[in-house]
Symmetry: C2
Subunit: 497 residues, 2 copies
């Protein structure tokens, strides 16, 4: 008996052994007769919201089925959607609005039964594709691997069930070359096994630029998008389809020459960002050593248009994309295109970023001394401000280091009540976390709540204590005020410590 725990409510669901969900699927299709059917494969941070966008498409009324595996981590999402509760917290009111619409229209179902694929006119692939980081040599990433197993089996499941004229649109971030070298052969193999034609299906790649947060929906629906097809016919059909889903009045839709190109664009985009962050890491250490304020320097440089993307110091990179996409790219270069070279700058960026919370810990000890038996409160556990996503959050590494150093820790986050990766609950009332007069407060996520004057007042009301700001959250004025009462250090600022 396997149980799946709802990370929002901590409710427990027993996963059924029988995968037959045909009754629900057939009822759903009956009440959505005449509509084209979109199956979204994967109900994660992209797939779940992409399902809402499809069920609220700009130019067509679709019946949308979200499908995921009935596993420990995902089964509760299927249940939650069908019980009328959207399975993620985000401060974008459109998510609730769009979800309510689907309930009123009855055009969104979640399931785990692969039967759904057999009715799909379009399958949108939003499954995960992970990288296994194996070893570090003196802090640098030495070895990593990409296991395509799960991805291949997801594609095979489509091929085993789909119609021969299905449209498969891959949105998953894949190693460049995957549509041509992996998806196409698997789909065709499965279609041929079933005696079906391999001339009819449509295959393409298009990536979202989803940004969980207050613009979650619009970051999928109204943000410039790149797409490609496995051939000209596919590219044309994908374009026609995307124009029914995405608001192309509000954003550009750019066709690239082939699937290699769009797949490369996605990982290049994220590698670039990862590298920009890694650059800030290196210079943060230098700024601390030289006793200068890197924030002021970055501000002075960002006035140049050519340097407007320069990043500020911080605790590190988290989330699902920047922590692995550069590795997918480098892996593909060698595995699919026979190169002998890594993408060194991109791989090194991941290495540097992975070390960021360790640097933060070292600086903490340097400035505030040892932590044995100290009470430490973390403000924020998610990897980014105003979202509730803890995947690969750098805060986790810092929390572990601080705990190992002998501190007694408390965690606060307004967007995370249960921290799946750590298997612990997280306090959502700030008072509960700071009323006990912690000996050290660590600002670890840039939630806007922490910038509010109420929060500053609460911090000012504490007995003189230590504050370690890992992300440069406070304004100049707020910082001056806090410094008047507490010992404050900001990562990347060598001028105060």
């Amino acid at each position: 008996m396997i149980v799946s725990i709802n990370t929002l409510t901590q409710e427990r669901y027993i996963i059924p052994e029988d995968l037959d969900d045909s009754k629900n699927i057939n009822e759903f299709l009956l009440s959505n007769k005449g509509k084209k059917v979109i199956v979204v494969q994967g109900l994660g941070f992209v797939g779940a919201v992409m399902s809402l966008v499809c069920a609220n498409a700009v130019a067509k009324d679709y019946a949308v089925i979200g499908i995921d595996l009935p596993s420990k981590d995902t089964y509760w999402k299927i249940k939650s959607i069908n019980e009328g509760v959207f399975p993620l917290i985000a401060n974008d009111p459109k998510i609730e609005e769009f979800f309510e619409n689907t309930k009123n229209k009855g055009n969104f179902l979640a399931t785990y039964d692969p039967l759904a694929y057999s009715y799909a006119d379009v399958v949108i692939v939003d499954v995960n594709l992970d990288v296994q980081k194996k070893s570090y040599t003196s802090h640098m990433l030495k070895d990593f691997d990409v296991n395509l197993g799960g991805f291949k089996s997801a594609i095979a499941t489509i091929g085993k069930n789909c119609k021969e004229d299905v449209m498969v649109l891959v949105e998953t971030t894949v190693p460049p070359g995957s549509c041509a070298n992996v998806v196409k052969p698997i789909l065709e193999e499965e279609l041929l096994k079933r005696g079906l034609s391999i001339k009819e299906y449509i295959l393409g790649h298009s990536y979202e630029r989803v940004m969980p947060g207050p613009e979650y929906i619009e970051s999928i629906r109204s943000f410039p998008r790149v797409y490609s097809g496995i051939d000209a016919r596919s590219a044309g059909d994908i374009e026609t389809f995307l124009k029914t889903i995405i608001d192309t009045e509000a954003c550009e839709l750019t066709r690239l020459e082939n699937t290699n190109a769009t797949e490369m664009a996605k990982v290049l985009e994220n590698s670039y960002r990862a590298m920009n962050i890694a650059f800030a890491v290196e210079w943060s250490r230098f700024a601390e050593e030289a006793g200068v304020n890197l924030y002021e320097i970055v501000n002075a440089i960002r006035v140049r248009k050519t340097h407007a993307n320069l990043m500020y110091p911080g605790i590190g990179v988290g989330g699902y994309c920047l922590t692995k996409d550069p590795l997918l790219a480098s892996w593909a270069r060698k595995s699919f295109f026979g190169s002998e070279s890594d993408l060194n700058m991109s791989v090194n960026s991941v290495s540097v970023n992975d070390q960021m919370p360790i640097y933060a810990f070292n600086r903490l000890i340097e400035v505030f001394g040892d932590l044995v038996d100290k009470s430490v409160s973390f403000l924020g556990v998610s990897y980014r401000g105003d979202i509730g996503d803890t995947r690969f959050t750098p805060v986790e590494v810092l929390v572990n280091k601080v705990r190992e150093a002998g501190a007694v820790i408390k965690l606060h986050d307004p967007f995370v009540s249960y921290w799946q990766e750590q298997g612990c609950s997280v306090e959502s009332e700030l008072d509960v976390v700071i009323c006990s007069e912690p000996e050290l407060v660590i600002i670890s996520t840039g939630h806007s709540e922490y910038r509010k004057s109420e929060t500053i007042s609460k911090l000012m009301n504490l007995k003189p204590t230590n504050i370690f700001d890992t992300i440069g959250l406070f304004s100049k004025k707020q910082l001056l005020m806090l410094q008047g009462r507490h010992k404050v250090s900001v990562l990347g600022r060598g001028d105060i410590h």
Copy 2:
């Protein structure tokens, strides 16, 4: 007898053994009585133009003396200025206009006699500070050194001659920490030796963001600028001075906390740019391997504000700054601040960029085959479009490789008539270079002349030949046209070769 050759006219000057230029200096000061005297130390690509900016200051009438060593490479510039010919070619009409003004006003003199410092109210330091790149291990920069000898002796010369209340404004790009750790002690030592006070002088650092080209003057005069002083009094006086020189109506003037901070800002700025270019190098190779067009991908990504600085493929980095500034930074981190860490991302960027013309050569051979006895014409030798600067131009490495491969080469550049580093003349008439029907034309610099329809017509009139575009110079339309007649390959485009 040492001779200095004018790189513009190839005129030869014999360098005098007697350094006494007091007659000229005294006459100049007599006719500029009552004016504050600015001495600009160094008449290179920054100092020469900075002198013009000072002699045409926005809010004050200064007497400006440009000073440089009477050496092989620089003596001719002193002569040229005093003979009424500005010693560099650039397509900024303001250079000629500003130079004419100084001739009319008689407020700009060039000299080699250190006597000039004794009259200076302000000395602006614009001397070179070089990095010695020592060895590469499998293409990566293994060892380099910073020799402060020349810089220290330039500062000592000021200290040996200056008034005790002189203002010294360092503009040279220095290893962060240099004003505090090098300039200040040397100046004070020399002042004390002469029995003068060390309480009166003013010392600060401010860097220009000069961009040789059509906005040469304005890039110094109307571009945001950062400054700092060795203490609060110095910072205030430097600010007051800069406001008389720079157009602060048109651009921000930002004070940073100390000289470490502004020195760091400068090298950070250039390291960031060097890294962005290195990133494009890595992905250009990948794009070529995967058969896709990196230009299209970059265009598709640059629509995102967070990615607007993403660079295009190219032949490489040249010029005096990006090829060494990241190394200055890394050197300073260890030498002045005791860190055990290099700035790895920054140092690696220089390594990668240094290899760019070698990659270009390898791609050339891959696409066009061997070069033995082939006639090859290079369009452009300077490191950047529409300027005549050949310092560390990547074209030099490519020219050497192509020559070593057995080709017979011709060089064209509208802005360079004599290539100092190669000791050869460069043709400025395009017809002369391409009328001989070269077997390969290499587009090596992005001069606007090459984009003009006349040039495209000339190329179209050649017998079918090979064109290797290392910088993505041509528009889509031009490229299509050229491809109709010639075999064309563009670096970073795997889709055509």
